[in-house]
């Protein structure tokens, strides 16, 4: 009995030793995949019972990802900014608050290149307040505005809308392995957030997922094996992640269409709250990378699917898609190579759209 117990302990010790040794090796060897260990939410956000996750205050770090290593600074409020922002408008500048996800947060972009930074937009008369948080859908953006954004005295609030995943984000109680609040729309919007709890076991699991290179490789490797298996033996169309497909007009998945009504309701509520606070509201679509790089005539088909309802609700919405296509046509891709987010060029274009009202009026897509 003692011997058997000893053998089991020896085998367990052997497993732990091997995993620790593998972790050590993977931290020394410069493998691409090892570099991607550490999701931005793991490093730059924390659990929040109202929002699912919220940005960590006072962060100065490098974010190492798929093909990039960039400086990240989050101010005392947790906002990705090289400066602190007062709630009051002390400098008498035109103040624009921007809501959005990782595109606004600036995934893969150096701090100084993000469109909300003075160094990037270059307009001394404008102060932009970046409320972008990686992984947020419109629901969390609305709640983040209610919790923090509406305390800012601003002239304008811009919602940067990511077509290929914001609608999907709004439909689920969990995204990317993290629980999140969500709304349902039955005779009005109802918030559901009782399920958002910080369980220690879950926290430990997420910590390992975000910090261990062995776990990152295991997760990525298993997913790839699964995708390869489905590609070969699955009975559906070839497996390509939806975000990597060039999508022509009308090429919508049923699941995306299902969330359009709910999403428009969320945007309407946000617009109403912004206007009640005395600011202007507008929505700017994030151009869809695969279509831009393929020089397609139209942006993601959800733009077309959403604009009638947005127009009906009298929401100002804009799409800088043609400007991005023009940059791509000129050989200056506005996107990161390894993911779909903006590079410095993309931030430059998007910043112009946000700061220059006249320019924005030329790219309106809602009537």
């Amino acid at each position: 009995m003692k011997k058997a117990l000893g053998n089991i302990l020896l085998i367990l010790a052997s497993i732990v030793f091997t995993l620790l040794a593998a972790e050590a090796v993977l931290r020394i060897v410069p493998l691409d995949i090892a570099g991607s260990a550490g999701g931005d939410r793991g490093y730059f956000s924390r659990f929040d019972p109202e929002l699912g996750w919220a940005p960590l205050p006072s962060v100065e770090q490098y974010h190492v990802g798929d093909g990039f290593s960039v400086a990240v600074r989050q101010n005392a409020m947790g906002l990705r900014a090289s400066q602190e922002h007062a709630f009051e408008d002390n400098a008498n500048q035109r103040r624009i608050l921007v809501l959005g996800d990782s595109y606004v947060w600036g995934y893969g972009a150096d701090q100084e290149d993000i469109f909300t930074e003075p160094s990037a937009h270059g307009d001394d008369n404008v102060e932009m307040i970046n409320l972008g948080v990686s992984g947020y859908g419109t629901d969390q953006e609305l709640l983040f505005y209610e919790k923090l954004g509406k305390q800012f005295d601003v002239n304008e609030v811009v919602l940067a809308f990511t077509t290929y995943n914001d609608i999907l984000n709004n439909m689920f109680a969990e995204q990317y392995g993290y629980q999140k609040p969500y709304f349902t729309d039955e005779n009005g919007l109802t918030l559901h957030d009782d399920h958002v709890v910080d369980r220690p076991a879950r926290r430990i699991g997420i910590w390992f997922r975000d910090n261990s290179r062995v776990v990152a490789i295991a997760e990525t490797g298993f997913l790839n094996v699964k995708y390869l298996w489905l590609s070969r033996f699955g009975d559906d169309e070839p497996v390509v992640h939806p975000r990597d497909r060039v999508l022509g007009p009308g090429a919508l998945r049923p699941i995306d269409s299902q969330g359009v009504d709910l999403t428009v309701q969320l945007i309407k509520r946000l617009r109403d709250e912004v206007e009640a606070a005395g600011a202007d509201f507008s929505l700017v679509f994030i151009p869809y990378k695969p279509n831009v790089l393929a020089l397609q005539a139209e942006d993601h088909p959800l733009v077309t699917a959403m604009t009638p309802a947005l127009s009906e609700a009298s929401i100002d919405c804009y799409d800088p898609y043609a400007m991005f296509v023009e940059a791509a046509r000129d050989g200056a891709s506005p996107f990161n190579e390894g993911d779909n987010h903006f590079n410095a060029k993309g931030h430059e274009i998007f910043g112009k759209v946000i700061t220059d009202r006249q320019l924005r009026e030329t790219i309106g897509v809602c009537q």
């Binding site: 052997s14 091997t18 996800d101 490789i217 490797g221």
Partner: protein, 50 residues
């Protein structure tokens, strides 16, 4: 390949060194996953969700 595995198993059984098994299994499994993880089509999916 089968011969190599058979030899390894014989060695472990003969010398009663079964603690070597997890080291070998984990090393092989991680090596295989590493091959699949590099040049990943889904790595951006995991981390950019956002």
């Amino acid at each position: 390949m089968i011969e190599l595995l058979s030899d390894l198993w014989g060695f472990m059984r003969e010398r009663r060194k079964f603690w070597l098994a997890p080291i070998i299994i984990i090393a092989v499994l991680l090596g295989a996953l590493l091959v699949f993880a590099q040049g990943s089509v889904v790595a951006p999916f995991i981390y950019t969700l956002f």
